[in-house]
Symmetry: C2
Subunit: 404 residues, 2 copies
């Protein structure tokens, strides 16, 4: 049987529905990844202070958090298992799957990492770096999900969520970094610069998040950040980051850690709101697309009925009036999909900053035989010393590719 233009019209809509259903599944995955990142951020912080001087009294709290993480990790693995990895079923998933492979490898290595932390055979820096890599791997999965979304509204929600999670992760890194600085008793100029850089990275992420959020979410975000906590945070940041190097009381470390934790836990309530909104958005979009498919089908049936009534004796072609209706249907759909694709491009532009930085990092790794961490450090230090944005430095690096 020959497929008509109308059957492709229906097929296009069915593809949209299938994509939305896939996005709903991906959103669930993103939600559990958020839970795990949050729990690991706390474990990272606790491990960090545990490995510092006088850290032994953090041990019980750390062990509790480890058990909690293990529980959520099972949940994430269940979601990974539920993904349909048969190649004929899923398109454009190669990147997502390869990112998941990296995450699973890092999760497999967690028990060994924890043994070394428990036996205190790691430095706080080494421990933090291992957790950073794992969490950054989890966030890259969220990034790929945001990057592959084909619905602009869902893509917008995922971009907001990715930036929020990334901002929260920088807040977590700041917590660990500051705790280590306060525990060691003092900060040098390089540490102060790195601290300021972590603050700047957070603020940029939360700015993008705010740009992509509606007023309800922005309101919840502002309400979550209690003024009292922020005042404490900023005072302690000032102590840690100002050039006049102070000698800190090591008890500062606990005070700082608790203050940051209050702030980050409050962020978690916003993150949970983002998940709920995302889930509802996916559900709403699926219901809407199915209703539109149903309406479209009714119109098509009616047109076919009219066509066969009018031309029963002549040809299989529609009469001129019906032809105009069909033309209206196919043009409307093509224009709607084009408009969606245009809007999607605008949303995805917000993801491109990270891509530019990643690409510059890759270039430096290849050209200078650097590790990923060292390539990033090199970019960051150039940005700090030239007082330029990381994005601008990354763009300059790419522009100078031929000279490297």
């Amino acid at each position: 049987m020959t497929k008509s233009g109308l059957s492709f019209l229906v097929a296009a809509r069915q593809c949209e529905i299938a994509e939305l259903q896939q996005l709903a599944l991906t959103s669930e995955l993103v939600s559990t990844i958020g839970q795990l990142s949050h729990a690991l951020q706390k474990e990272r912080g606790l491990s960090n202070v545990f490995l510092g001087p006088n850290g032994m009294h953090f041990n019980e709290q750390r062990q509790q958090q480890t058990a909690h993480c293990t529980h959520i990790e099972k949940n994430v693995r269940t979601h990974f298992d539920a993904l349909d990895t048969s190649p004929t079923q899923v398109r454009n998933s190669a990147r997502l799957f390869s990112r998941i492979a990296v995450v699973l490898h890092a999760l497999d290595a967690l028990p060994t990492l924890r043994q070394r932390i428990a036996s205190r055979t790691l430095t706080p820096t080494e421990s933090t770096a291992a957790f950073n890599r794992l969490i950054s791997g989890l966030l890259v999965v969220v990034f790929e999900a945001a990057d592959s979304a084909t619905d602009p509204e869902i893509s917008r929600a995922l971009v907001a969520m990715f930036n929020f999670m990334q901002g929260k992760e920088f807040a977590g890194q700041e917590r660990a970094f500051g705790a280590a600085c306060f525990a060691s008793g003092r900060t040098d100029t390089a540490q102060q610069q790195q601290w300021l850089h972590l603050i700047e990275l957070q603020e940029r992420c939360f700015q993008v998040f705010a740009d992509f959020s509606d007023t309800a979410v922005s309101g919840a975000w502002r309400a979550s950040q209690l003024t009292g906590v922020l005042v404490d945070l900023e005072r302690q940041r000032r102590l840690g980051c100002t050039p006049a190097s102070h000698q800190f009381d090591s008890s500062f470390s606990q005070v700082w850690f608790d203050c940051c934790t209050r702030r980050i836990d409050a962020m978690k309530t916003v993150e949970d709101l983002l998940y709920r909104n995302l889930r509802r958005l996916c559900e709403r979009k699926i219901v809407q697309a199915k209703a539109e498919l149903h309406d479209q089908q009714l119109i098509i049936d009616e047109l076919s009925r009219q066509a066969s009534a009018a031309n029963a004796d002549t040809s299989a072609h529609y009469g001129p009036q019906i032809e105009r209706s069909v033309l209206g249907l196919v043009q409307e759909q093509a224009q709607r999909l084009q408009a969606m694709s245009d809007e999607l491009e605008t949303v995805r532009a917000a993801l491109s900053e990270r891509k530019v930085v990643e690409r510059a990092k890759g270039l430096l790794m290849a050209a200078r035989k650097l590790s990923e961490d060292d390539a990033y450090k090199m970019l960051r230090q150039t940005a700090m010393s030239q007082n330029r944005r990381l994005l601008d430095v990354a763009e300059s690096v790419l522009a100078m590719a031929d000279y490297l």
Copy 2:
């Protein structure tokens, strides 16, 4: 059973292979669409001169070409029918399918169009416009195919092909336009401007095509454009486009048409070369990806063997050495896919010019309640009167969106 990181590694590669196989099918479709566009371009030209004064002696040639087109159209429909439109099988195809729906609708209307041409109840301008819409619909299918390709090398080949086909289409439009001008005996200033614009559009497309082609293809392109034909073409262009309005002998129309046809038929040989190269490229990529999957599987089997030999008595976890090998594998794949995605973005940037123009057109259509043709004319006339590139005008329109 729990999926390991390695199983996601394999799944990612299998997705890549499935995507390449899908691209190979799409490339076949693009090839038949190219045949049909070429045939319709000729039918458009013949219909155009047939509808002009003294056009009756083109009738036999026109009828032959109509039969030829009908034959190739069957071929294209067969390819459309062969597409898997089940929503669970194909991702990101909504836009492609909706474009095919538009094309099928236009193809369904072809018999009626031809009847009206045969009975000479259409003006040459109306006939040309109808063919233009159909061919532009076919080219949009090629554009969507180029835009959805996930392999940068194949995407590059499709971008080159799309631009070549689009350039050839502008050459075809110039043939029809010039034939009508010469047949009518004279050109006015507006017609001269439109003529020059068609030449400029062609040259831009062929420039992008050349930028995305290797030296063998560029060489074939230069060799296909015979100097003698080009000299004739440029002399006739000068007669048609220069401000001093001449009175043309109506036999000029046939001379012009034949000269353009020689040039366009020579382009077809390059287009066929592009198809052959694309097909070979897809085949090579699939063979290569399968070989890499096979090698990867061998390494994974060997690692599993070593792991079970080393840790038969302890845990299911790999030892540290094997863990580093696994880490190497997963990181290598993630980096390779990231590099592919970055390269893809660079290639796709070449497609964005057309998207910007389309978006500006859509904006004008909505804001000024214009038809697609009129929106495009408005952009084009602004570009001509301000002596700016179409892209720049389109960008200005988008930047001024709030004021429209």
